[in-house]
C-alpha cells in the first residue's frame, strides 16, 4: 500500500501485487458484473447536457469540470460500450470504444472515491433520470476488485473484515457498551438471548459519540421495550457498501439480520448513520429475495414513531433549529418527514436551510470521503456551502441525524474555526425526555 501518482500527476493508491493487466481485467470483471438492463438504460441515455455539474457540491465548490458527476463514470461507461452495449461487438471490431487502460482507472480513482459522496443530488438534477450515484457505487465494485481504492478506505475494509467493525473487535463490544452505560448511568442490555429490538451502532458511536449508545438505551428503557445490543451483530455502518467490496457488504448485512433473527427481534434499529440505512434497508433484499426477515428502521424513524405514538413525552426546548438532511436518509432514503416531526415534538421552530429535504447539499463527507484524508481539501471547500446556508438560516441550533455528517461538519467547523456545534437528533430527544 503506497501512494502513487500517474504520469499525469494524479495521485492514487493501489493495493495488492497485481500486474497492470490483471488489475485492468479485475476492474473490467467488476464493472461487467454491473452491466444489466438497469445500468444500461442509464448509460445509454446521457445527452451530455452537463446539468449534473451544478448539482454536485464538489463541482460547485471548486468549479473543476473533472467533478462533473457524469465525468466520474467515464471508464465505467467506456467499459459498458465496449462489452455490453447493443453495439458492443461492432465497437470492439472497429475500435470505437477502446479498452479502458489501467492508467485511466488509476486517474479515475480520485473521481470515483474522493470526489463522490454518493449523495445522489446529481440523480435528481439529471433530466434523463440517470441515477449517477448508483452507477458510481456500481463502478466502485470494479475498482475494489482491481485494488484501486484509497488506502484509508482499504484499511477500514481490512479492519472490518477482521473485526466485524472498522472501529473495534467484536470481543470488545460488550465492554464498550457496559462502560458507556456506567459512564452515563444507564442500564444497558447486551447480548440478551431474546429481545424485540436489536439496536445497532456506527463506528462514530464506538469512538467519538459514545453518549449516543446510552441515549437510545435511555429511550428504550423509558418505553419499557425489550431490547438489546449484540456482539454478534452490532456494526451497522457498512464499509463494504461504501468501498465497493460486495463480499464484505454481504457479510456485514447478514451478520446484522441473522442476529436479529436469532434473538427474535421484530425490529432492527439502525444507528444515526446514513449509509447504514442505504446498505441495510435498501440493499439487504439482495440476499433475502426482496423480503426482509425483520423490520429495519433508522434511528430517526424510531424516534418519530415513539414520539408520535406518545410513548415518550418530550420537554419543549423552545428554540430555533436548522436541520441538515443526511443524503442517504432523506434524498436516497425517503425519510424526509420523520426528523421534522421529531423536531416539532421537541417544540423547536425549524428554520430550513435554503436547500433542504430532498435537495439538501451533502455535508461533503459521505460515501467514505470523510475517512479518506486525501479528499480533505475539496471536502472543506464543499463544507463552506453548508456553512453559508446555516448562517443564512440563522437558527440557534444545528441538528442532524447522521454520525458521519456530524463528524464531517464538526471537522469543517473546526477547520474554519466556525463556532457552531453540530448536534444529534437522538441526543436532543434523549436529553429532553419528560418524566
Amino acid at each position: 500500500m503506497t501512494a502513487k501518482t500517474t504520469a499525469a500527476g494524479v495521485p492514487y493508491d493501489a493495493q495488492g501485487d497485481m500486474s497492470d493487466a490483471d488489475r485492468r481485467s479485475a476492474a473490467m470483471r467488476g464493472f461487467l458484473h454491473e452491466f444489466g438492463a438497469v445500468a444500461a438504460a442509464h448509460l445509454e441515455t446521457c445527452v451530455r447536457c452537463g446539468m449534473c455539474a451544478n448539482a454536485c457540491h464538489f463541482y460547485v465548490a471548486t468549479k473543476n469540470p473533472d467533478y462533473t458527476p457524469i465525468n466520474k463514470l467515464r471508464p465505467f461507461e467506456q467499459a459498458y460500450n465496449r462489452h455490453a452495449g447493443p453495439f458492443a461487438p461492432i465497437f470492439r471490431l472497429l475500435g470505437i470504444a477502446p479498452k479502458v487502460t489501467v492508467t485511466e482507472l488509476e486517474e479515475w480513482e480520485r473521481l470515483i472515491y474522493d470526489a463522490c459522496t454518493l449523495c445522489g443530488r446529481c440523480t435528481l438534477a439529471c433530466p434523463m433520470g440517470i441515477d449517477i450515484a448508483e452507477l458510481i457505487k456500481e463502478a466502485r465494485h470494479g475498482m475494489y476488485k482491481a485494488g484501486l481504492v484509497p488506502d484509508r478506505l482499504q484499511l477500514m475494509d481490512r479492519t472490518a473484515r477482521a473485526w466485524g467493525s472498522p472501529a473495534t473487535p467484536a470481543d470488545d463490544f460488550a465492554d464498550i457498551i457496559r462502560e458507556a452505560g456506567e459512564q452515563h448511568g444507564i442500564e444497558m442490555n447486551v447480548d440478551l438471548e431474546k429481545a424485540d429490538y436489536l439496536v445497532t451502532v456506527a463506528p462514530a458511536e464506538l469512538t467519538d459519540h459514545t453518549k449516543a449508545l446510552a441515549d437510545i438505551a435511555r429511550i428504550l428503557n423509558k418505553i419499557g421495550a425489550s431490547w438489546t445490543y449484540h456482539s454478534e451483530g452490532f456494526e451497522a455502518s457498512n464499509i463494504g457498501y461504501i468501498n465497493g467490496d460486495i463480499e464484505l457488504q454481504k457479510a456485514m448485512t447478514l451478520r446484522l439480520i441473522e442476529t436479529a433473527k436469532k434473538i427474535g427481534a421484530h425490529t432492527l434499529i439502525l444507528p444515526e448513520c446514513g449509509h447504514a440505512y442505504g446498505a441495510a434497508r435498501w440493499e439487504a433484499g439482495r440476499w433475502y429475495d426482496g423480503k426482509l426477515p425483520t423490520r429495519i428502521i433508522h434511528m430517526t424513524e424510531f424516534l418519530q414513531e415513539t414520539v408520535i405514538s406518545g410513548k415518550v413525552k418530550l420537554n419543549p426546548i423552545n428554540c430555533t433549529v436548522s436541520f441538515h438532511d443526511p443524503c442517504q436518509l432523506v434524498r436516497r432514503g425517503g425519510v424526509r418527514q420523520a426528523p421534522r416531526d421529531v423536531l416539532k415534538a421537541l417544540g423547536t421552530e425549524l428554520k430550513e436551510l435554503e436547500n433542504h429535504g430532498d435537495l439538501a447539499w451533502c455535508c461533503g463527507g459521505g460515501g467514505g470521503v470523510v475517512s479518506n484524508t486525501r479528499a480533505d481539501p475539496i471536502r472543506f471547500k464543499a463544507f463552506q456551502i453548508k456553512q453559508r446556508e446555516v448562517e443564512d438560516a440563522g437558527a440557534e441550533r444545528f441538528v442532524t441525524a447522521c454520525g458521519q455528517c456530524r463528524i464531517t461538519l464538526t471537522q469543517g467547523a473546526k477547520h474554519f474555526k466556525w463556532d457552531r456545534k453540530v448536534e444529534s437528533l437522538l441526543e436532543l430527544v434523549a436529553d429532553n425526555l419528560a418524566d
Binding site: 441515455t45 469540470p65 447493443p86 439529471c126 441515477d131 434497508r281 426482496g290 425517503g334 424526509r336
Partner: protein, 219 residues
C-alpha cells in the same frame, strides 16, 4: 434519376430501414440484458412500481427550481429547441404528409409562416446550444464526437428546410432534395448516437422512478 427522386426514393427507404432497425436493435439490445435488479422490500405505502415508473418519467419533465436556475441555458434553451423541432417536424403540412405516407397517421397542420418563425427560433436555439457546448468548460470536457455529429445532423434538416422554404441559394428542388437527404442522414445516425435518448429517456427515468419510488424518496 434526379437528386429529388433519389432522396424521395432509395435514400429515404434505406435510411428509414436503418432507423427502424437501429432503434429497435438498440432498445431490444439494452432491455434484453440481464436485469440485475436489486430486490428491495418497498417502504410501506410506497406507490406501485408502475406508478413510480410513470412518475419518474413525468416528474423529470420539469427540473427542480434550483437546477432550473443553475442549468438555465440547458433547461430553457433545451425546451425551446425540443419544442421547436417537434412543432416544425410534426405540424408542417408537408411533414405530416411524409409521416402519413409512412405510418398512415395524420393531423392538422400550422400555417407556413408560423412554421417558418418557429423554424428560425429552433435554428437559433440550436446555435445557442452549440455555442454553450463549446464554451462551457464542463460541456467541453464531457462532450464526445457523438455530441457534435448529433448536433450537426439535427441542425442540418432545420437549416435546409428553412432554406428550401425561403428559396435561398439553390433551386427549390435541389434544396428540397438536400433537405430530405439531410433528414435521411439524421435518420441513419439516430439509432447510433445520443439522439436515441428520445426513446431511451423513458426507460432511464422509469428505472430511477421505481428505485426511488420503492424508498418513498424523491425522483
Amino acid at each position: 434519376m434526379t437528386l429529388l427522386d433519389f432522396a424521395r426514393g432509395p435514400a429515404l427507404e434505406a435510411s428509414l430501414f436503418i432507423f427502424v432497425a437501429g432503434v429497435i436493435w438498440r432498445c431490444v439490445g439494452t432491455l434484453l440484458l440481464p436485469w440485475r435488479l436489486v430486490r428491495v422490500e418497498p417502504r410501506k405505502g410506497a406507490s406501485s412500481p408502475w406508478v413510480a415508473a410513470l412518475k419518474g418519467v413525468l416528474v423529470k419533465l420539469w427540473p427542480y427550481d434550483t437546477f432550473a436556475k443553475s442549468g438555465v441555458v440547458q433547461f430553457v434553451n433545451g425546451y425551446i429547441f425540443h419544442a421547436g423541432f417537434a412543432v416544425v417536424f410534426l405540424l408542417f403540412a408537408p411533414h405530416i404528409l411524409f409521416i402519413k405516407g409512412v405510418t398512415g397517421l395524420s393531423w392538422p397542420s400550422l400555417p407556413n409562416n408560423v412554421i417558418m418563425m418557429i423554424g428560425v427560433v429552433t435554428a437559433a436555439s440550436l446555435v445557442v446550444a452549440l455555442v454553450f457546448r463549446v464554451t462551457s468548460p464542463v460541456l467541453r470536457l464531457i462532450s464526445r464526437v457523438d455530441d457534435y455529429i448529433s448536433w450537426f445532423l439535427t441542425f442540418l434538416p432545420v437549416a435546409t428546410g428553412l432554406m428550401a422554404a425561403a428559396h435561398l441559394g439553390l433551386r427549390y428542388e435541389t434544396l428540397l432534395s438536400l433537405h430530405i437527404l439531410s433528414f435521411c442522414a439524421l435518420l441513419v445516425w439516430f439509432p447510433f448516437g445520443k439522439l436515441m435518448h428520445a426513446f431511451l429517456f423513458a426507460f432511464s427515468r422509469a428505472v430511477t422512478g421505481v428505485r426511488m419510488g420503492q424508498r418513498g424518496a424523491a425522483i
